[in-house]
């Protein structure tokens, strides 16, 4: 029956390879190559988040203290540079913007981003941050090809610059985006910056990822040794079964 093993392995392979529907809907997403294994990138991403996002968006499941531990920052660094809300070090990252005002200003309360990457995928968030364009027909003047008529004004415009849309002839569909006014970063630098931000949000959606990679290697090594010993023991006992 060993001939069935490849079939089983293949089935699992197909299942893993097939993207779930939630991600499949955003076809043509850019690839973020997100990873939580680069501490410097996580620190840069945190810096961007607290400078450009934290005014409106919370990370209500992430504590400042946990973040400091995981990102290799000191309490002083976090409290002096990142936490501007007056929250205590042990408290979670909650934006100081009142929900009622936010709803009045933007039409909806800016969502908590603790689980944004878990819910939408890193590639979606990355693409979203790269596909804002000027659109005078919307109330806020910005639009986004990844999330049509997004309520969010583009907070990173001074970094990326201003993109405008080239429409497909005779339609209202966007064919491509063009950088018409450069920002303070080059396109390559901007992509790296948004990658840092996405890496940080990937970390925020599952801080345990840092630990499980670390422990996983040792657990599997232990289990491999255990299985090997169990195999030899079984072989010894089964010597006389023919």
């Amino acid at each position: 029956m060993k001939r069935f093993l490849p079939a089983i392995a293949l089935t699992f392979g197909l299942l893993l390879g097939a993207q779930p529907a939630a991600q499949a809907e955003g076809e043509g997403l850019m690839s973020a190559h997100a990873s939580v294994r680069d501490p410097a990138s996580l620190q840069r991403g945190a810096h961007l988040f607290f400078n450009y996002c934290a005014g409106c968006h919370s990370l209500k499941y992430l504590r400042y203290s946990r973040m400091a531990d995981d990102l290799g920052l000191t309490e002083k660094q976090v409290m002096d540079n990142l936490n501007v809300t007056g929250a205590k070090f042990q408290e979670p990252v909650v934006s100081s913007m009142p929900a009622a005002d936010a709803t009045k200003w933007f039409g909806k309360n800016p969502p908590d981003l603790s689980l944004e990457v878990s819910a939408k995928g890193a590639d979606w968030v990355y693409t979203y941050l790269n596909t804002f364009y000027l659109d005078p027909s919307t109330p806020i003047g910005w639009n986004n090809t990844t999330l049509k008529n997004a309520a969010m004004p583009f907070p990173l415009w001074e970094l990326q610059g201003e993109q405008t849309a080239v429409m497909k002839p005779g339609t209202h569909e966007v064919e491509k985006l063009q950088l018409t006014t450069p920002g303070s970063l080059t396109p390559v630098e901007y992509q790296q910056a948004t990658r840092d931000l996405v890496n940080f949000l990937t970390y925020a959606s599952e801080p345990a990822a840092l630990q499980r990679h670390h422990y996983g290697v040792w657990v599997i090594l232990f289990l491999a040794l255990f299985t090997l010993l169990a195999y030899f023991l079984k072989k010894e006992y089964w010597k006389d079964v023919h």
Partner: protein, 430 residues
Amino acid sequence: MSKFSAWIGERAPGLDATYRKHMTEYYAPKNFNLWYYFGSLALLVLINQIVTGIFLTMNYNPSAAGAFDSVQYIMRDVQWGWLIRYMHTTGASLFFVVVFLHMFRGLLYGSYQKPRELVWLLGMLIFLTLMAEAFMGYVLPWGNMSFWGAKVIVSLFGTVPVVGNDLVEWIMGDFLPADATLNRFFALHVVALPIVLLLLVVLHLAALHEVGSNNPDGVDVKHGPKGNRWSPTAPVDGIPFHPYYTLKDLVGVGVFLIVAAFIIFFAPTFGGWFLEHDNSIPANNLLTPAQIKPVWYFTAFYAIVRMVPSAFGTAFWGVLGMFGSIALLFALPWIDGGKVRSIRYRGTGYKVGLMVFVLSFFCLMALGMDLTDEYFPRIFGSGIDLTTWDNVFGRFWTLVYFGYFVFLWLYTHLGWEKTKPVPERVTMHD
């Protein structure tokens, strides 16, 4: 015997006898192959689910207001909470993997045939209970997929004629999945159904040990020649379950744990199949997910619900079809009138039939997972009418699924099956 075990033996005389009956003097055929690992693995996963479940229960808050937050609390603030939760979620999916393989083993070697009908029936009851247990557990994190999954699955009962709507309200305790629903599902998931599962597992094993294990040759070792190294009355091809199969299963456990550990530590969401993306959004009755579909292990049965058309003004037929697809498995010992057990000696018709049956299960699974919506346009061009294609594809494989049981009855009861001679004693292949 040590003083201690003598002391126990005087006060609980049946204990030692029970241990011997089920472990050291339970003679299992010596020719078990790869397919025989999955029973003990299912038991291992059951224990994992109970132990990790107890620790999750210590920190989980079974209320609509607190459930979602408490899961994140477990993931972030509880010491090792992330590991406990991933062991539980991975265990849930792997439970179905090993149970599906365990059931397929039964089909391969005719383990449900006389005299093991009761073993099979109890096993099917375990499967049914497991489905209820998994469904209710899936609702507990109170993510958006939990909410909509609960709504869709419970509303299946709404198709029952006359009492349908009342039934749905009775099950949910509200007009939508709500706090009352979550509370009762929690009670059922952590208390009622686990007790039922444990009881059924004990009965499943007791029934098995009464008639003895089948094997890849389908040879009845109990009725073959007698006398082995351990006992003159034991089957000649039987070996003591302990230590032989406990040690062999230990190797299986090791390999299985490596696979499980890989998922737990490196791919706990398994690409969105074990933990779905939409469940990272809190339950929201105003926000319908783009696609509502059950977790992978229910998708084949869910596809049947979708594919059976409405008739006479009711969609009840789909629900009947889904329950029918499981009920037919219960009836398998009586549908299959085969003269031999193992696929090694059965007719070509059985071999082909079983493979087509498994294929129908996989195709229905793919449909239930919406993989067809993704791959049909890629294969056949984006201009195709997906609904029609899905319906033709799904209804064809639904017919094949049910057709298999009709075929099997005709094939075996009308004497069309040409079997090969079964050897007197078990053979050692691999």
